[in-house]
Structures are given as structure tokens and as C-alpha cells.
């Protein structure tokens, strides 16, 4: 793989995590929590915030230490740093709300094996300055949180008739229970991916037509 040019402190660094390189919809990373804690919007949001904290904090620390970590032990070091921040988030959530902690369960601790965080550390934070790494991490976190919410809201609306705990449809609503059960998670994510792919294909077709129309060779 060719050496990536040093990323700049600009909009692109921030936004690529949200759309072009969305960790879930494009790179298909970090799927376990996506399906597991998105049976309600509040859980999804809380998970997004927790992951954001770990991602940003570890990106910052790893980027600051990037010149002092020898290549041979870099993965081990990254994992220890990530595990540290995850443990911190675990205790902080317990202190804030026991109910939320019980709802999220073991998945808080499972943030440590979220491929998004380790992947970013390896591919980005270890190769760029702290300010850039943090900017990218923030973008990625937003992208990840959006993915979580897109699942959480759909599943909660259809499966429970509510949004963020507020009843939407009243008593007559017959919830589509499978939505908040495991199969529902698979189906809804598959549905979103389908939508994404359809969107991308349409966009590629449109660009292809534009290129064909203009008589200049190449795009």
C-alpha cells in the first residue's frame, strides 16, 4: 500500500468518517455492538457516546505517543491503551446511571474489541499528528453514532412504538416484536446496507452517464 500523505487539519479529515468511510456502512467494522444494543434509541445513543469517548481518547494518546512505540509491540500497546479507556468509561457509566449500565451490559466492555477503534489506531492515529487524529476520530465517532441511531430508532419505532422512550402511536399499536429481537437487528442492518448500495449504484450510474456525455476522455 502506498504511503498515505500526511492528512491535513481540514473538512475532509473530519467528514470522511461520516459518509465516504463510514465505519459501519462502508467499512463494515464494529458490527457486534451495532446489532446488540440498538433495540432502543437511548441505548444506541449511550453506546455511541461511550464509543466516541474511547475512540477520541485513545486516538489522542496513541497519536501523542506514536514516535515512542516500537513497531513490534504496537498492537499490544494500542490494545492496552484502548482497554484502559474502556475500563474508565465502564466505571463512569456505572457512576452516572445503574439502569443504563444494566441495559448496556457487557457490551460496554466489548468496546475494546470494536474493530473500528483498533483499526483507526493502526491506520491513522499512529501516522498523524494529534490534532488531525482527534479530528478524524470525532468524524468517525459521529459516523458510528449515526449508524447506531439509524438502527436504534427504526427498531424502536417498529418494535416498540416509541422513540427515545416516548410513545408514538398510543395503545392501539401492535408492535412488530421481531424488530427488537436479534433477527430484527440483522434485517434492519441488511436493509440499510441495501439502501446504501442502491444509492451508491445510482450515483455511480449518474456519474458514468455524465462522463460518457462529455466527450473528453477520462473523468
Amino acid at each position: 500500500m502506498t504511503r498515505r500523505r500526511e492528512a491535513q487539519l481540514d473538512w475532509n479529515t473530519f467528514s470522511e468518517g461520516i459518509w465516504q468511510e463510514n465505519p459501519v456502512f462502508v467499512m463494515l467494522l464494529g458490527l457486534c455492538p451495532i446489532l446488540a444494543v440498538t433495540n432502543s434509541s437511548i441505548n444506541a445513543l449511550a453506546m455511541g457516546l461511550a464509543t466516541a469517548f474511547v475512540l477520541i481518547a485513545s486516538s489522542l494518546l496513541i497519536s501523542m505517543l506514536r514516535n515512542y512505540i516500537p513497531k513490534q509491540v504496537r498492537i499490544a500497546t494500542y490494545i492496552v491503551i484502548i482497554a484502559t479507556f474502556v475500563t474508565i468509561v465502564d466505571y463512569v457509566i456505572q457512576a452516572i446511571s445503574l439502569d443504563l449500565y444494566n441495559a448496556l451490559g457487557a457490551f460496554i466492555q466489548l468496546i475494546v474489541v470494536n474493530c473500528v477503534i483498533l483499526g483507526r489506531a493502526e491506520a491513522y492515529a499512529s501516522k498523524n499528528r494529534p490534532s488531525v487524529a482527534v479530528l478524524n476520530a470525532v468524524g468517525m465517532s459521529i459516523g458510528f453514532a449515526l449508524a447506531l441511531l439509524s438502527l436504534g430508532t427504526v427498531r424502536e419505532i417498529f418494535g416498540n412504538g416509541s422513540l427515545f422512550g416516548y410513545d408514538l402511536f398510543g395503545d392501539g399499536f401492535e408492535p412488530w416484536v421481531v424488530m427488537v429481537l436479534p433477527p430484527g437487528g440483522f434485517f434492519v442492518l441488511g436493509g440499510w446496507l441495501l439502501l446504501f448500495e442502491w444509492f451508491r449504484q445510482r450515483k455511480a450510474e449518474a456519474q458514468g452517464e455524465l462522463a460518457a456525455e462529455s466527450s473528453k476522455p477520462g473523468a
Partner: protein, 233 residues
């Protein structure tokens, strides 16, 4: 790149160890720090949760005290070896109104932990509160939200046999709408497994704890009123 690796070996080893060691110490320090800072907050949260639960499952309760039920009976020492926590609830005058006990059983998705209030006067269970569960939202969690199910526990019979060795009639969950006796629980249709788990949790806990607890109830009454009399000016 290969030349670099050949030149690095001796320097690398001690460097690796230094880096790993440094990172490990930094991590340990950070985690220990956060742990110490949050420990009192978490303990307070847990205490508040239990207090709320106890006051909810025992009607007319104004305060509670935690005791420990061990092999030798009731003791005020909460950290007694092999002791099971028992929460005695008192009304404003310091009279014992009920005792909250814990129970648990496997439901659909995991273990359901609940607290139930035992009233020694009517020898029945007067309320339950689910402390922790991961049942299906919207389905299994009806054991909390379904009014008809909750009404099962307004006066659930928990009398002991005359020799105080076990429940006269084991608590059992029956099919929705078929409840005939006071010791039966009407299941929620569509959430049978979660409903049965509640029944099992109550039955097992009551069978184990009530025979040991009932003989000690007078002691619980006396302990509190004695201390109240001491505290009064």
C-alpha cells in the same frame, strides 16, 4: 527494512520492555484513579436503588434496615459469612411492616433478579420489584409493565407448613387466566417464560428463606424498637 531489523535486536529488547512497562504503569494508574473516584458514587447509587426497591415492595414502609440471615439466624452484621441480605422495613412508628428478600431465576434471555416484600401478618407476599433483567423489551419486560401481572402480587399466599420447614403450597405460575388459588401466578400470555421465571424465583427464594426467617421475625421487631427507644430523647 531488513537491515534495520538486524541492527535493532539488542537495543530493541530493552526498549520494548521499557515501553510496554511504561504503558502498563500509565494504564494501571489511570484505571486505579478512576476506580477510586467512582467507587463511592457507585456504592451510593446501589444503596439508593435498594432503598427505592425495598420501600416499593413493602406497603406503608418509611424506612428499612439491612440484616443478614445466616446459619445462626438473623444478625445485624451485614458482612456475615454466607449471610443472605434481608431488608426489614418499618413504618413511621418503627413497627415492622414487612421484610424484603431477594430471589432470582433464569428467564428467557438471562437471569432475572427481583426483590419481594413478605408481610408476616398475612403470611403473604405483597409486592415484587424486578431489580435486574435482560428480557425482551416490549415482551418479557411486561412482567414490569403489565398491570394484571403485577396485581398477582398484591397478596400472594406464602404460608408455611405447621412445622415451618417449607411452603404449605409452592408458588407456581399457571397459564394466563387459569389462576384459582392465592399461591398461583397468572402468566402473561406471550411472555410465558419470563412469567414462569418470576414464579420460580419467588418459590425458590421463599422455600429457602422463609423457614429460616419466620422464627426470627420477633427478633427483628425487637431489635428496631429497642434502638428507637434508645435514640429517643
Amino acid at each position: 527494512m531488513t537491515e534495520d531489523q538486524h541492527q535493532q535486536p539488542n537495543v530493541a529488547a530493552s526498549n520494548l520492555i521499557r515501553v510496554l512497562g511504561g504503558i502498563a504503569m500509565l494504564s494501571g494508574f489511570l484505571v486505579a484513579l478512576v476506580f477510586q473516584v467512582t467507587k463511592p458514587v457507585i456504592a451510593e447509587n446501589k444503596r439508593l436503588a435498594i432503598e427505592k426497591a425495598v420501600l416499593q415492595v413493602v406497603p406503608d414502609a418509611a424506612s428499612y434496615r439491612q440484616f443478614s440471615l445466616g446459619e445462626q439466624g438473623i444478625s445485624s452484621d451485614e458482612n456475615q459469612q454466607d449471610g443472605i441480605p434481608v431488608y426489614a422495613a418499618y413504618d413511621e412508628n418503627g413497627e415492622l411492616t414487612g421484610i424484603a428478600l431477594e430471589g432470582s431465576a433464569f428467564g428467557y434471555a438471562g437471569k432475572i433478579y427481583l426483590l419481594y416484600g413478605y408481610d408476616p401478618t398475612c403470611e403473604c407476599i405483597r409486592g415484587i420489584k424486578v431489580l435486574k433483567m435482560i428480557e425482551t423489551p416490549g415482551l418479557g419486560d411486561k412482567i414490569i409493565t403489565d398491570q394484571a401481572f403485577v396485581a398477582n402480587f398484591n397478596a400472594l399466599d406464602a404460608k408455611l407448613t405447621s412445622d415451618h420447614m417449607q411452603l404449605a403450597n409452592p408458588i407456581v405460575t399457571v397459564k394466563a387466566g387459569t389462576k384459582r388459588s392465592n399461591w398461583e401466578i397468572d402468566a402473561i400470555s406471550g411472555a410465558t417464560i419470563s412469567s414462569k421465571a418470576v414464579g420460580r424465583a419467588l418459590n425458590e427464594s421463599a422455600q429457602t428463606l422463609l423457614p429460616k426467617l419466620v422464627p426470627e421475625i420477633d427478633k427483628l421487631r425487637q431489635l428496631q424498637s429497642a434502638e428507637l427507644k434508645e435514640a429517643q430523647p
